[in-house]
Amino acid sequence: MFTVVRTTTNLSLDEHFIKHPAGTFFVKVEGDGMVDHGIFNGDTLIVDRSLNPEKNSIIIAVIDGELTACNFLDISSEEATVWGVVRGSIRDLL
């Protein structure tokens, strides 16, 4: 796997968060529907498409043509397809 690693002694956020660069995408959250899962309006999510969702995965699904963050348990395969698995979230506190 191609992994981007810095040669300096600095800790690399890429290295920490991006396990599969070719399959990793970032998306921005709009809305408060996932607050119970610790995901807030304005958060940036790290989406790893290389992963297969597990029972309790937070995923990005395509529902009615829209990218939608949701719990894998809550969707049915008739109305939604999996776009990627959410690996982490980043929130600006300032």
Partner: protein, 419 residues
């Protein structure tokens, strides 16, 4: 014997747009060249609506309205980034890969012990899952046959997008289904000549005597025919140039770490590429610069690519070199030992058909300069003269009214998701 697989992304530009805008799935999509001049890519649905390749937008506005076609400006930052991702997934899976254009890659799968069809289905599934891009794969004993197989794999639903012609009884069927004009390396001129002589399909072609083919189509034509007969003439390492993109790249004898050295190397590649497309009377709307560290060392790895728009479309060495340098500067990071670098000129169209815009900054003096430049290169070989690498690229204005956001390369542009 080498076994080749050609992986080709289906309707690549439209597919890139669909990954981030799933509403476009199943809808006709047309991508325009820079300055929104003419159609450079079409989804299957748009082809069925009757939009032609390279057709100027004003000629098909009625069709757009009638069929509710989604018209988008080309977003080369998005396409190069997605291309890079696809190539990385392929490089992780196959023993050896050779990217051939922005959306095509040859794999050498000679050493694969699995069933080749199953292996390629896995490749197809993995590329789709990781990147969202659908691909078709053709497998054969020569590159030209792999191209034939790929073409059929993409149009025939029965194949599931993968067609293996190795030792297959389908080989002659496949050749029979392929018109000579669709054979890799046979241009319009030869197609006309062949058709006049009653040679219509690839199968007709391979049954012609060698002497006749050499006489009519030269040594290059004979090479193509021998490839169609299953004789490997091109080999894995050489790259015949594709039509819509041109690529110049080289592995360095010694690894390169210095930005100035990279700029020098890439300026040279850009100069060669520009001369190539001028010779073919083509212009390009975007250049992609790439560099990579050695995959086989334990050193830190980095394989960026950066695309820079050329607007208006151009084959002017000065503009192309400037854009290439801008690309190198943006992609470069300190501390990596680069083993290879290259440039790819994208979205090539006939210079006579290239859209000109109000903002076109064409300077007739440039033409004279380029003529002189080409003359020197012809006499003394590439590298005899180079454009100075100083100075910033001018801010070319580009009218791209329907461009999608840079979903994967700019923070403010990342897709939003609902909850």
């Amino acid at each position: 014997m080498t076994i080749y697989a050609l992986v080709d992304c289906n309707n690549f530009y439209a597919s890139c747009e669909r990954v981030f805008n799933p509403k476009l799935e199943g809808r006709p999509v047309v991508i325009l060249s820079s300055n929104d001049g003419c159609a450079i890519a079409r989804s299957n649905e748009a082809k069925e609506c009757g939009v032609k390749m390279a057709q100027p937008l004003y000629q098909f506005t009625d069709i757009v309205k009638k069929h509710d076609i989604q018209v988008l400006s080309g977003n080369f930052h998005l396409y190069t980034d997605m291309s890079n991702r696809v190539m990385q997934v392929l490089a992780d899976m196959a023993p050896e890969t050779q990217p051939y254009s922005i959306d095509e890659c040859f794999l050498d799968i000679t050493g694969i012990s699995d069933d080749l069809d199953e292996y390629c289905l896995k490749v197809q599934t993995k590329v789709r899952q990781w990147t969202g891009i659908p691909v078709g794969i053709g497998i054969a004993e020569t590159k030209t046959l792999a191209k034939v197989a790929n073409r059929i794999a993409k149009v025939s639903k029965k194949t599931g997008g993968v067609l293996n012609l190795v030792g297959s009884q389908w080989q002659s069927k496949a050749l029979e289904r392929t018109e000579v004009g669709d054979v890799w390396g046979i241009g319009k001129q030869f197609t006309k000549k062949l058709n006049r002589n009653g040679v219509n399909t690839a199968l007709d072609l391979i049954n012609q005597p060698d002497g006749w083919i050499r006489e009519e189509m030269g040594v290059g034509g004979l090479k193509t025919v021998r490839e169609l007969r299953g004789e490997d003439c091109i080999g894995f390492d050489s790259i015949p140039q594709p039509k819509q993109t041109t690529m110049v790249s080289r592995s360095f004898g010694q690894t390169v770490t210095d930005l100035d050295d990279l700029i020098n190397a890439v300026s040279g590649f850009a100069t060669t590429a520009a001369a190539d497309i001028r010779k073919a009377n083509l212009v390009s709307s975007a250049i992609s610069v790439f560099m990579e560290t050695s995959r086989f060392s334990n050193e830190p790895q980095y394989a960026p690519s950066q695309s820079v728009e050329l607007s208006p479309a151009t084959n002017n060495t000065k503009h192309i070199v400037r854009a290439a340098i801008q690309g190198v500067k943006e992609a470069y990071r300190e501390g990596f030992k680069f083993k290879k670098a290259g440039v790819m000129l994208l979205d090539l169209v006939d210079a006579d058909h290239a859209p000109r815009s109000l903002f076109d900054s064409h300077d007739p003096k440039d033409d004279k300069l380029i003529e002189a430049f080409d003359a020197i290169i012809r006499q003394q070989g590439p590298g005899a003269i180079n454009f100075g690498t100083a100075g910033q690229p001018s801010a070319w204005h580009s009218a791209s009214a329907f461009r999608s956001p840079n979903f994967t390369t700019e923070w403010p542009d990342i897709p939003t998701v609902k909850t």
